[in-house]
Symmetry: C2
């Protein structure tokens, strides 16, 4: 579903007003009927013989994904990866922004990257007062769980983790993990592969 939003946003920005399931499917590398099935859960949406109005579609999906308001995120860990994320401009299209950054290393504290001042992790508690509900973890794997515990205590309710470890949280806090090395490690299986997909 977030994928649909990505495709729809992209096509809309290219000036496409009416998007057919076929077109979106081609653009994203999916089948049309899957897209229609998923969109049909919304009820109306889409004119027969024409397609889906791109603006309506964007609004609808954003509302479903709760992306209809701007969300703030805190980043912990301003190493190479963290810096890359601070300078990456791709979050704004989904109404997401990194508004605070923290690091343990005092030589990094005080600097500004991507327009965000780097603070020391000891100040993580202040997140509580800044209405931030997303957290991004880009720290060494040994510290990941500990940092997560801290920001959960500070009121963060959704976490994107780059640590190759399973993160434990209270049920109300959702964690999405990206393990880059593991994703790369999935590829060799398909080399000269005979399996489908």
């Amino acid at each position: 579903m977030p994928l649909y939003l990505r495709g729809t946003l992209e096509l809309a920005s290219q000036g496409v007003d009416s998007i057919s399931s076929q077109r979106l499917a081609d653009y994203l590398g999916l089948n049309p009927w899957l897209i229609r099935k998923d969109f049909s859960y919304f009820g109306d949406l889409g004119k027969r013989g024409v397609g889906y109005d791109s603006q309506t579609l964007v609004c609808r999906i954003k509302k479903v994904l709760r992306l209809d308001v701007t969300r703030s995120a805190v980043l912990v860990g301003v190493g190479r990866l963290g810096s890359a994320l601070l300078e990456y401009g791709g979050f704004s299209r989904y109404g997401l922004q990194i508004v605070a950054a923290f690091d343990r290393d005092r030589t990094r504290v005080g600097g500004t990257i991507g327009g965000v001042r780097v603070e020391h992790v000891d100040g993580l508690g202040t997140v509580k007062t800044r209405s931030i509900d997303l957290g991004i973890i880009a720290v060494p794997q040994e510290s990941a769980q500990e940092v997560v515990n801290t920001i959960v205590q500070a009121g963060v309710r959704g976490i994107l983790s780059f640590s190759p470890r399973h993160i434990v949280t209270p049920r109300r806090v959702k964690v999405i993990s990206i393990d880059i090395a593991m994703d790369l490690a999935r590829l060799p299986y398909y080399l000269s592969g005979n399996r489908k997909q």
Copy 2:
């Protein structure tokens, strides 16, 4: 399945010789019966009343995932993200190594990051002669597809892409995409969520 390898490797490195499905499940946040079901496809493996021998398990999964030999990868795009990947040491545990790096920007060419010399993209053709079968794409989204076409021509058969665009390749070339912004955008849906999972 790569997740199982991650967990098994980690537990093995902690000195655990015999791993029960329960223990691995706890460690990875899964259920035991799912793990047993998946491992049972291998045939033997695992002693009743005891568990799985960690060394045997590692070898078996590595073989299935074709990670039993060292695989080489080429990185294209040495920006913040690309640099982070070059300096990241987490690939080696899966027998993966980045052996070449390319960039379009001549000011970056010639430098060495994470022990790898940065070359100019014009030389991408030389990948053909270096027995590299994996590619990592960390370039701006506009250039992603073009770069992929080039490295596919150079013999790369598996690609990890960080571009938020659908990448088209010949069927024999597998693509795995990581769209960080999209992953972050999935989180708000679960905020004060009532849906399961």
